[in-house]
Point group: C2
């Protein structure tokens, strides 16, 4: 009794302290090591290993150490207690143990065959994150950051191609991987490595959808550093960001596809239910994300028309921005939609509208904050992937399945890129050249999203096999393809070191030459986007930001009272000031052909103002470079924005 009491009080004392301190310290230590390594690498211009690859290596080493250096401590954790009074698992259970009541919280459901894995190393168990952490804590900042930094002038020009790759390409990839894997699964059943009935076609499709989320973070980092052709960068970046969203919703839709009878037969009703799910969730998340961003834009816009000025308090502005963006995620989750997708479109919309309304200080703060969160979250995930190879207890390594998966992802990537590029080139003025297509094919790396989707459910044996395979594919693609990017760029003779300014000057010069045939330029972008652009420029931008023409000139006569109410006094008072024209032109090239009577010299001028020297932080430069311009920043938000986000 005395001993027990002592044990209890020791427990209480422990509780007084932080429970997960040691485990978090391990992660901190790994991240610090990673940062120091990156620093060293950057210093030596060593580009074969990206920070994420480095984080994985350290995670792997740490996993190895924990696996073999710590002794297994096992106290009754494998025993299963039977409770006959309950019909289902309540959220909390109160257990009376030697007259002391303990509260236990529901954690998860465990399959019978996984119970044994629970015996064993306590340290390994502690180092295992709850899979929901990835989707609720680590991924949102990464995805939001991607959306928030997506606003590039080249993005909208290539929007059609990007959407094609992201939607059609992901669907193709999912189906191709699913079909190939189904063939391999049949072979495995034939060989006797797998029981029939365990692994359905829907499981293969599930694997196909999660494997379709590409994450070429390593490649993009190198592209950014070397100033590779902007169109190629934009195509890859845009595709990878949007295809994450598609893959996540697709994975969910497939996972809830449950045919009533035999899972091997096709059930049309369930299939259309899934398609409906996909469309509903995607559209709902899109609407949720962008509406929160619109609210943010409106709130931060008020200060221009009314007496108050939120931009005088950058801390409040940043706080509001952060909280509303997070709310987009939470609302989507609470409504049964996909938070990640909501947060992505929230980020895009925030960058398109709200960013223009923020004070210069808040622009920096928000950008730096999300950049920082992205940096930490990304490295934690990749670190964890390295760890997971050793700490995850239910790995199923199946050589045939792994081989099949490797074959499948290459074929699927090829079926995605080459045919779609061919079709797109039929419509594009500026074709996607062969070497760009090869580079895109090569850049089909798998990363954080595929991992997070795979770890979300590792209960059944097929899912465990998928998880193991996903992990290996991530390792392979990040290290081998990521490390080979430089070699590939050289081999494919892709132009490197393009100065965006030079590019722009050449562009504007050619534009000046072709100003005469406006119609050809117009035809380059699809009619759908032209309509959207007109609408965005004429109505949305003036309502949500202080860029664009005053509403009074764009709305019909009888709307004047409302228009006057909604228009920023600045736009209203100085309808044709050069500064404003400037923003408009900077914000979207497509409008050049509609509004500005003679925009070309202004455009060139505005852009020469925003130099980009390689290897330096944009924000920092913006500060030094702009100098005296800072005083009339409020008039030219688009310019700062170009500096900061370009």
């Amino acid at each position: 009794m005395e001993k027990l009491r002592k044990y209890m009080s020791a427990r209480d004392e422990d509780q007084f302290y932080h429970q997960g301190a040691v485990e978090l310290l391990v992660f901190n230590f790994l991240l610090i090591l990673t940062i120091l390594t990156i620093w060293l690498f950057k210093n030596h211009r060593f580009r074969f290993l990206h920070e994420t690859g480095g984080a994985m290596v350290y995670g792997l080493v740490m996993g190895l150490i924990i696996q073999y250096a710590t002794t297994p401590t096992n106290f009754e954790s494998g025993t299963v207690y039977t409770c006959e009074k309950l019909k289902f698992g309540p959220p909390t259970v109160l257990v009376n143990i030697t007259n002391q009541i303990y509260e236990y919280q529901y954690k998860r459901e465990i399959n019978q065959h996984n119970v044994n894995a629970h015996q064993g190393n306590a340290m390994l168990q502690k180092m295992t994150f709850d899979p929901s952490i990835f989707f609720n804590v680590l991924l949102p900042p990464i995805i939001f950051h991607a959306g928030y930094s997506l606003k590039k002038r080249h993005f909208f020009r290539n929007l059609g191609s990007i959407l094609t790759y992201a939607f059609l390409g992901t669907a193709i990839s999912c189906i191709v991987i699913g079909l190939i894997m189904y063939g391999f699964v049949k072979a495995m059943i034939h060989v006797g490595q797998l029981k029939g009935g365990d692994f359905h076609f829907t499981d293969c499709l599930f694997f196909g959808s999660l494997m379709s989320a590409t994450d070429p973070v390593t490649v993009l980092a190198i592209f950014h550093e070397l100033h590779v052709d902007t169109d190629l960068y934009t195509l890859l970046f845009g595709e990878s960001v949007l295809n994450d969203a598609v893959a996540i919703v697709l994975t969910y839709s497939i996972s809830v596809y449950s045919p009533k009878e035999n899972p091997n037969t096709f059930d049309a009703a369930a299939f259309f239910q899934s398609v409906w799910n996909f469309l509903g969730i995607f559209a709902g998340s899109f609407a949720m994300g962008s509406s929160y961003a619109v609210v943010t834009a409106l709130i931060s816009f008020i200060h221009l028309t009314k007496f108050t000025k939120l931009c005088e308090f950058p801390m409040l502005e940043t706080g509001l921005f952060f909280l509303l963006s997070w709310s987009a995620f939470l609302s989507a989750e609470a409504a049964g939609l996909t938070g990640i997708v909501a947060v992505l479109f929230c980020g895009v919309t925030q960058a398109h509208y709200t960013y223009n309304n923020l004070s210069p200080d808040s622009k920096m703060r928000t950008k730096q904050l999300f950049e920082f969160m992205n940096f930490l979250a990304e490295n934690v995930i990749f670190c964890y992937m390295g760890l997971a190879l050793f700490t995850f207890q239910n790995h199923i390594f199946n050589a045939l399945f792994i081989f099949g998966a490797f074959v499948a992802i290459f074929i699927a990537r090829a079926c995605n890129i080459y045919p779609l590029s061919f079709i797109l080139n039929l419509g594009r003025k500026q074709k996607i050249p062969r070497n760009f297509q090869h580079m895109m094919m090569f850049s089909g790396l798998r990363g954080a999203i595929a991992f997070a989707l795979a770890i979300r459910d590792t209960e059944s044996q097929p899912k465990q096999m998928m998880f193991t395979t996903t992990l290996l594919i991530v390792f392979f693609t990040v290290w081998v393809f990521g490390g080979g990017t430089m070699a590939m760029l050289t081999w494919l003779q892709i132009r490197v070191g393009i100065d965006p300014d030079e590019d722009l000057k050449a562009e504007t010069a050619s534009q000046r030459a072709t100003t005469a045939d406006k119609n050809t330029t117009k035809a380059e972008s699809a009619w759908l986007f032209r309509i959207w652009y007109g609408f965005d420029h004429k109505y949305l931008k003036p309502i949500l930001t202080h860029a664009g023409p005053p509403l009074t000139t764009t709305l019909p006569e009888w709307c004047n009272p409302i228009a006057r109410l909604l228009t920023s006094p600045k736009a209203y008072g100085e309808p044709l000031k050069d500064d404003d024209r400037d923003c408009i032109v900077n914000n979207d090239e497509l409008t050049i052909n509609y509004e500005a009577p003679n925009p070309v010299p202004v455009l060139a001028q505005a852009r020469i103002d925003s130099p980009q020297t390689p290897g330096k932080e944009n924000i920092h430069e913006g500060d030094l470079g702009l100098g005296g311009c800072e005083l009339h920043l409020e008039h030219t938000p688009a310019q700062t924005q170009l500096n900061s986000l370009a």
Copy 2:
């Protein structure tokens, strides 16, 4: 069976989504409301309600709504299951319920009499944070930020007084509150409101120690805005920051004081054990925190002496800074010390050394990052306090105890401030005037730390009574005292609107006048700090930063090889450059009298460079104000620092 299956699959589906989304959304919503309210208030220069007070009001309203608008949903959560096989509560329990195995995680121990409270509103249960969240997630950024922004030139001048108030004052306050409460408890037992034997003197002391943590965040915000006398500001701020650390360690030491026999008698051995605990934990946490900061300073310093430059990558620098500071917290927790105290001293040391080595970009980033985290965490805590009044299920409102607590905190505050001020005034050249003493007495607000200490343990009835009382005291002091700050300032005729520059000019003028009698100035600061300053300036600063004289001149002749190795080439190459002198002078006034031959004009010049216009962000101004100076920022880190941290 069909129904159960459906229920199960609904559960699984739910798990696919974020579990706490709705609850987090409620908090987000409250914070957004708070931000909008603050914005409105700031706009109208309405200073009666600080943001934290506003957050509490919204929390209160939301608590009221949840309490009365949601219906209690109770499914068997009050039932206690008996398990005879176990001798103690294991960290996880596997329960077999209708052939499905669920994993349950250890949450906490519950007292028999609290079991009933578990029946009831599920929403209320969900809105209840795990108390460890306060100590492990919300408080660290607040405390670190306090430490990181503590570096004010007035702080070190008043260090003696601040330490006296913080250590001696907190001890006095703790004992006085403990004694008065013990009297009230005796009275309560006499009246029959309390059973004897429940409430020991140690419990009273425990209450006294947690009540001794003052948190005048409201008052300080107003002081900052109105530019109240800097000495008063520094005394209050310094006291409140350090007394948090003292109160936390004191509370822990008292809670582990366990006399062997009768808890009502004095046990000398146990008492000295507690004192030893206090000293050990305090010193250990101090050492842990500052050593991590020294490591950070050294790493960020390397770039000046060696080939690499970490400061070229502000993201890496910020990441390293953040991770190492967090590691200080985690290491202290893992070592059984107090993470909060470690993080406080880590912050102070980071500000003193590392900050000087950071690139200008990283200075901004780190400052803004911690400012932002502090802002969010503070408002979440105060919001939660409002909520807790309704959502906490085990409140014990005892009028006598609450009345006693109010009386006790006032008397204790008076016993702390007046006698100590009297003693301090005996030694101080610049006396603490009467009206300052009254203002300090008035500023004894209670806030986040007292609340977090009280909520950490709410199992026994005395602890629940303490928690309820603490909550009411926080409400009262924040609203009434916080709201009355303006009135009090006027009534006490405390000088307001002091321009720090004017203050400085006057100061330097008087200094110039008294340069002759150096010895008197010297005598003002205690000999201990003079020694520390000499040591810091001559040895630590040159090793850890690039400020200060080169080590070759300060170390004895035979140490030259080591000195040359450790000294930054900058300090070594340009030993007597004006810029360097400038930093030294700026960094610590005390050294003026030792080193600089004629520092006064330089000093005045340097300070006029850093204007402080009211109501604006420092960083923002620093950028605009410095302009061309930015190019030689590396030479004058202390100047930027003054701009940013002053």
